[in-house]
């Protein structure tokens, strides 16, 4: 039994090593403005994912508290860092609560999505 258990652990570790180099679902790791934060008016939305994303199929939308869409420039990945998606904000944001809605397609085509709020301080 001990040998079989050891074999299971070895196979498990091998998978762990393989997994460390694997693609996965792109989860939002960090955002600028930060999720739930109160900040000065930002000039861009910057989303850092756990995996590289395909910019052609990944989107960011921004809405004000009244539901009005805030125009954004096209979302692009950071040069040299396919895990970071950036969309410029076309105008200076007035104080208030804003909602970021994102959808991401990781480089292995898994879909994920989410949303969060941030507040622009007066």
């Amino acid at each position: 039994m001990r040998d079989r258990l050891a074999s299971a652990i070895v196979v498990s570790l091998a998978f762990a090593l393989a997994a460390s180099a694997a693609y996965a679902h792109a989860q939002l790791e960090k955002a600028t403005p930060a999720v739930g934060a109160a900040v000065a008016a930002p000039s861009e939305i910057r989303l850092k994912f756990s995996e590289g994303v395909e910019p052609r199929f990944s989107h960011i939308a921004l809405t004000a508290a009244d539901g009005a869409a805030v125009p954004l420039g096209p979302a692009k990945v950071e040069p040299g860092d396919p895990t970071t998606l950036v969309a410029p904000i076309a105008k200076t944001l007035a104080p208030g609560v804003y909602t970021v809605r994102w959808s991401a397609v990781s480089v292995d085509t898994h879909h994920t999505r989410g949303d969060f709020d941030f507040t622009v301080k007066p």
């Binding site: 998978f15 997994a19 679902h25 960090k30 739930g36 756990s50 994920t112 989410g114 949303d115 969060f116």
Partner: protein, 304 residues
């Protein structure tokens, strides 16, 4: 002989199910909308995907039979079609008294039949078969046991933002009935049992990406969880065995990108369920993430 009308309805229903499986975004991990349900240990999660649980280690100081028990199992799920998977589970067990043996083979055919993304609500149905006369003679039953299973999961991300702190919550639940292939064996009655359970889970990954940033790489991957697992004989019950047994299993799940580690304690609800606090731990690999182009995709209709 079934009328042609009947078969048209059946074919139409199957076509609708296949079409729905293409349209749903749910068929990788147990993902539905913004929610990722982690793999759980006491009951099954509501998703179907290519995955490998290796190993699942369980230690009980005294099981329901009064013996100390240690199990080491492995489980592999292979998707056949998107949302339809077949899993194989087996492994050794050691009981003192009782000795070492190999558990009987367990398989489950499971279909993830719905996901309402906006409500983070998904469900699966399955047929589990515990194959008699497989494994070590001291461990197996001389008959198959058939268990139809329903699994559902509901995340609460659709709650209003005034209740933000509750939005990372999710509940999953399972109900099944285990029907033995023989009513009697070796002079003993084999009861049919009703099995049911649920989990309460609070996803810090969800909190980090939807509510407020967690500035700690370890914490933001944890899911505190408690599982409640029960079983009750409902027919062909031997005299004196009409007791509900079960366990309460608080623990933690650490969710990495393509694997997870879960550790739970096992607390029996009564003497018939065991004595003392046990522990179960599992390393779980999501093969659809590790190898999405071959091992991790469905055998049929697995194109992207």
């Amino acid at each position: 002989m079934m009328p042609a009308h009947f078969w048209r309805v059946v074919v139409g229903a199957l076509a609708a199910v296949v079409a729905a499986s293409w349209l749903s975004p749910a068929f990788a991990h147990a993902v539905c909308g913004d929610r990722i349900f982690p793999a759980t240990l006491g009951i099954d999660d509501p998703g179907v995907s290519d995955e490998l649980a290796l190993p699942t280690l369980t230690w009980l100081p005294k099981n329901s039979g009064g013996a100390q028990e240690f199990d080491a199992t492995a489980s592999w799920t292979k998707t056949i079609l998107p949302g339809l998977g077949l899993s194989f589970t087996d492994g050794p067990t050691w009981r003192g008294p009782g000795g070492y043996g190999w558990e009987s083979l367990d398989t489950e055919l499971k279909y993830n039949f719905f996901c309402v993304a906006a409500f983070e609500f998904m469900g699966s149905v399955g047929l589990d078969v515990d194959w008699g006369r497989t494994g070590t003679r001291t461990q197996y039953e001389p008959f198959n046991t058939y268990t139809p299973v329903l699994d559902v999961g509901k995340g609460f991300g659709d709650l209003p933002k005034s209740l933000n702190v509750l939005r990372p919550l999710a509940i999953t639940a399972e109900v099944s009935s285990s029907v033995p292939g023989q009513s009697w064996s070796d002079g003993n009655q084999n009861p049919t049992t009703l099995n049911y359970g649920f989990t309460l889970q609070y996803s810090l990954p969800y909190y980090n990406s939807h509510i407020a940033e967690i500035d700690n790489d370890f914490l933001k991957r944890l899911v505190p969880i408690t599982e409640f697992v029960f079983s009750k004989p409902i027919s062909n019950v031997p005299p004196g065995a009409n007791l509900t047994t079960g366990t309460i299993q608080p623990g933690l799940v650490y969710m990495a990108d393509s694997w997870q580690l879960a550790v739970e304690s096992i607390m029996p609800i009564n003497g018939a369920s065991g004595h003392g606090v046990g522990v179960v731990a599992e390393v779980h690999f999501f093969l659809d993430d590790i190898d999405p182009d071959s091992l991790g995709k469905p055998i049929f209709m697995g194109g992207k």
